[in-house]
Each structure stands twice: as structure tokens, then as C-alpha cells.
């Protein structure tokens, strides 16, 4: 297969030389995100389509009642990422790329392990019935920084999602259809936002939200997951050029500021979609 196209040396040097002069190829500032558009509810409750520049990710949340593992009183939250071959010629159906594994692991750490979703609230009858929340993430267009886009899509979809109401009387469990009783939102403790950085010139130069071109040229990456309370949820520095400690502190500061901006945008999109429903 042709796969990803190799980058020419002149393209590489062009990107790096421009950065040395403080210019990014698409004209953004080093700490500037691409334009973010969040569309909620296109496919009903719990669907979010997020466009970060030209990178496009669709997240869809669904719920079903399942039996929990041995006497547990907690529900499940599952992530399923699919890098559709639609997004880039480098993705092949049925073959897991390293990037895909990285993205699904990071999402899992960012949203599930940071305890953003109250899994105890998903319990219906302890040890018998719990809600299993499934988040399907479809990458539709790959123009760089899939992770941040996927994280925003996943958390927006989870915030938008409503599950059917349930009543328990003795042994009798009734799941009420959506038109009978108002469906219930998930209880979400905080909104983790993933911010990716790319490094050039052995860590000398840093950009936020790298494009596909920049991703191919960068010496290393650094990922910070942070929420509006300025709490760090996850950090990842998986290989690449070594980083100065001061750089890491600086990046974390930037990430905290960016996370606040992104959270505002998500909240804005949620209010807008709620108004439409009324």
C-alpha cells in the first residue's frame, strides 16, 4: 500500500527554519490552537462531531444494562476508537497503528482513570445490573493532533449524553423509555482536557496543537491532561528529544490556560444545543 507519503527534506527544513524565525506554516502563534467547532446532538443524545482545524472526529455515546463483574457496585465506561481509513491513506482497515493504540490508551487515562465519570452512579442493583457506557470514537479526517480532538469529542459527547431513567422496586427493575420520563445526564466530576505539544530543535522550540505536517517533523511530543480546576490528570512524554524541566512547567501552565478556553467552548456548545431542544 502507498500509506503515508514521505516528507521531502526541503519540506522538513522549511518547517523548522520557519519556526526558528517564530513563524508556523499555517500562520498561527506557537501557543495558538486551530479553530475549534463542536457540533452536538447531530445523531441524537450523546453524539458530538468536533472539528479542530481540519481534523475531524465523531464521538458517539451509547448505554446498555449489563451484569457487573463479581459483586461490584460500579458501572463500566468503555472506549472504542476506530481510525477509519477514511481519515488518511495511512490507516488500513483491521490493522492497528501505533498511533491508534496511543490515542485510545491516552483517552482511557484522561477520561476514565482520572475518575471524570462517576461509575458508582451507573449502578442499578449492586452485583446484578449496571449501566455500561460505550464511547465510540470515529476519526474521520486526519490533519494532525487527533488526540486532543478525540478527547474534546469524547468528553463533549459524554456531557451531552442522557440515559433512560430507571426505577427499582424490590426485585423489579423498570427502564423507562425516553418519551415517558425525562432521560438523565451522566454525573461527571470534572472535564479533563488534553493538550498536545510538539518539540523542534531538540526541545528548543515548542508549539501547541501540531498539524499533521508539524507532527511528521517534530523531534518529540509532550501531552498534558488538565481540567479547569488546574488539576493535572495525566502527563505523557513518550520518548523523543529530552526536555528541560523548566520547559515542562512552562508547558503545563500553557495547557492549564488552554484547557480553560476549551472548556468554555464545550460549555457554550452544550448551552446552545440545550436551547435548540427547548
Amino acid at each position: 500500500m502507498s500509506g503515508e507519503q514521505f516528507l521531502s527534506t526541503s519540506e522538513r527544513t522549511f518547517v523548522v527554519n520557519a519556526l526558528r524565525e517564530g513563524i508556523r506554516v499555517d500562520g498561527r502563534g506557537a501557543y495558538e490552537f486551530r479553530g475549534l467547532s463542536i457540533e452536538l446532538g447531530g445523531g441524537g443524545f450523546g453524539s458530538a462531531e468536533v472539528l479542530l482545524g481540519k481534523t475531524r472526529v465523531l464521538a458517539n455515546v451509547s448505554a446498555e444494562v449489563v451484569r457487573p463483574t463479581a459483586n461490584s457496585a460500579e458501572g463500566f465506561v468503555l472506549f472504542n476508537t476506530s481510525f477509519s481509513p477514511m481519515a488518511s491513506p495511512a490507516f488500513e482497515a483491521g490493522r492497528l497503528t501505533e498511533e491508534e493504540v496511543l490515542v485510545s490508551r491516552m483517552l482511557e487515562k484522561a477520561v476514565r482513570r482520572s475518575r471524570a465519570i462517576d461509575t458508582e452512579g451507573l449502578c442499578i442493583v449492586a452485583g446484578e445490573k449496571v449501566w455500561s457506557i460505550r464511547v465510540d470514537i470515529h476519526v474521520l479526517d486526519h490533519e494532525g493532533n487527533i488526540l486532543d480532538c478525540a478527547c474534546i469529542a469524547a468528553i463533549s459527547a459524554l456531557l451531552h449524553f442522557r440515559r433512560p431513567d430507571v426505577t427499582v422496586e424490590g426485585d423489579q427493575v423498570t427502564i423507562h423509555p425516553m418519551d415517558e420520563r425525562n432521560p438523565i445526564p451522566l454525573s461527571i466530576h470534572h472535564i479533563p482536557i488534553c493538550i498536545s505539544f510538539g518539540f523542534f530543535d531538540k526541545g528548543e522550540r515548542v508549539v501547541v496543537d501540531p498539524t499533521h505536517l508539524e507532527e511528521q517533523v517534530q523531534d518529540g511530543d509532550f501531552i498534558v491532561v488538565v481540567n479547569t480546576h488546574r488539576e493535572l490528570c495525566t502527563m505523557s512524554k513518550a520518548g523523543g528529544a529530552g526536555l528541560d524541566v523548566a520547559r515542562i512547567v512552562q508547558c503545563t501552565e500553557v495547557a492549564a490556560a488552554k484547557a480553560a478556553e476549551v472548556t468554555e467552548l464545550i460549555r457554550g456548545a452544550l448551552t446552545k444545543s440545550n436551547e435548540i431542544k427547548k
Partner: protein
């Protein structure tokens, strides 16, 4: 009697104006989104491009189709959709022009799956192929029809209407010969019913083809989206 359908239409033979978006994706060679009401499909086309060695055909392009559902992994239904779409494309694409290459199409459902999704997928794929500039013999268009429990013929049903149907028919027609390219029918129906579904679908497909034309004209004119709602 004034008939009221669940989505507010007043006639059983009324087609919802389809919504189309051309080139929503930037990486793909061609892409399109096609929707009947709330059922929507996004399609992307790559090709003609390098072919895998074992798929190489000496005299024509290899056509690959991949359909992804919105929720979960693809199963037998998706395989059936892929097969139906591939067979249509085999007869429509001028594949002899591109020997030893592959043309790949990918469809992703944007909304809950019902039989309507297949019609949307076929139409989205054809639009995406046109967007990619892949040579076609003709523009095919697809519509869905059902015979409901009171033996009424219903064109372009909603997901709720499909649930109570006696039989579901997905017809695909050619715009040159006006002949049927593909037909997937499930359920129990009589020959007369089949004949009337055939005729209704044939004229409905012509109006979908008019939407294709309008969409392409808008693209050539520099405007890339059409919203017919």
C-alpha cells in the same frame, strides 16, 4: 382523509428533500455526506491508487468498499451493505481505464442504522466518486420503499415506519438507461406490489439524480455546500 406521517409529511409518496454536502473531508480524494431526514452517511473515496499485490487485476481497477456502523464493530449487516455497494460500483465505475490500481470507498453511518442507511450510503458514495473525479458510466441513485402493515406503499420511510413494515425494498436506478442497477428486497410481497414499488422508486430516483446535478453544479460554481431543507 388527510394522512399524517410520523415526521409530518402528508403523502405516502413524498420524498424528503435529501441534504448533501460535497467535500467535507480534506485528506480524502473525494468525499460527500448524504442524508434522508436524520439518516446520514459520510463517504470518502481514495483512488485510483496503488493496489495491494494480491488484489492486483491486470485489466481493471480493484474496487474496495468498507462500511462502518456508528456504534460497535461491523457485522453481517455491514458486510451485506459492502457487497451491495461494491456490486453497484463494479457496474458503474469505468474501471478498465485504471488497470492495476485500486479504488477504495469508505462509508460511515452518521445516525442510527435502519434500511434507509443503505440508500444513503449508495448515494453518498456516488457523490464522493464524482467529487474525486473517478470516471463513471452513469449516475445511479437509490431510494427505499416499504409496504406497511395495511398494504400501503410508503416512499422514503422514517426509521419508525420501517419497524412496522411488511416488506422493505431498496432500489437503485441508472440515470442513462433508467433501468434498475440493484434491488434489495426483504419481507413478503406480491408481484403487483413489487411492480408498483418499482415504478414509484424509478421516478423518485430521477429526482435524487436532479439533486446530484444541483450539488455538482454548485461545486463547479464555487459554492461547495447545498442545504435543501
Amino acid at each position: 382523509m388527510v394522512l399524517q406521517r410520523s415526521d409530518g409529511r402528508t403523502d405516502n409518496l413524498q420524498l424528503r428533500p435529501p441534504t448533501t454536502t460535497l467535500s467535507p473531508l480534506s485528506r480524502a480524494d473525494g468525499s460527500a455526506r448524504f442524508a434522508y431526514g436524520k439518516s446520514a452517511v459520510l463517504a470518502a473515496v481514495y483512488g485510483p491508487k496503488e493496489v495491494r499485490l494480491r488484489d492486483e487485476l491486470l485489466d481493471s481497477a480493484k474496487i474496495e468498499v468498507l462500511f462502518r456502523p456508528l456504534v460497535g464493530l461491523s457485522g453481517t449487516t455491514e458486510r451485506l451493505y459492502e457487497k451491495t455497494i461494491r456490486e453497484i460500483l463494479e457496474s458503474v465505475i469505468l474501471k478498465h481505464l485504471h488497470p492495476r490500481t485500486s479504488v477504495q470507498t469508505f462509508e460511515g453511518a452518521d445516525d442510527d442504522s435502519s434500511s434507509l442507511i443503505l440508500s444513503c450510503a449508495i448515494n453518498a458514495t456516488i457523490l464522493a466518486l464524482m467529487d474525486a473525479g473517478v470516471g463513471l458510466k452513469s449516475m445511479v441513485a437509490s431510494v427505499t420503499c416499504i409496504i406497511d402493515d395495511s398494504n400501503q406503499l410508503v416512499l422514503d420511510p422514517s426509521a419508525e415506519e420501517i419497524k412496522g413494515a411488511k416488506s422493505v425494498h431498496v432500489f437503485t436506478f441508472d440515470n442513462v438507461s433508467k433501468d434498475v442497477t440493484s434491488c434489495v428486497s426483504t419481507g413478503v410481497y406480491t408481484y403487483e406490489q413489487y411492480k408498483s414499488v418499482f415504478e414509484v422508486s424509478q421516478s423518485a430516483c430521477a429526482s435524487v439524480q436532479a439533486v446530484y446535478r444541483q450539488t455538482m453544479e454548485n461545486k463547479v460554481g464555487g459554492v461547495e455546500t447545498v442545504d435543501e431543507e
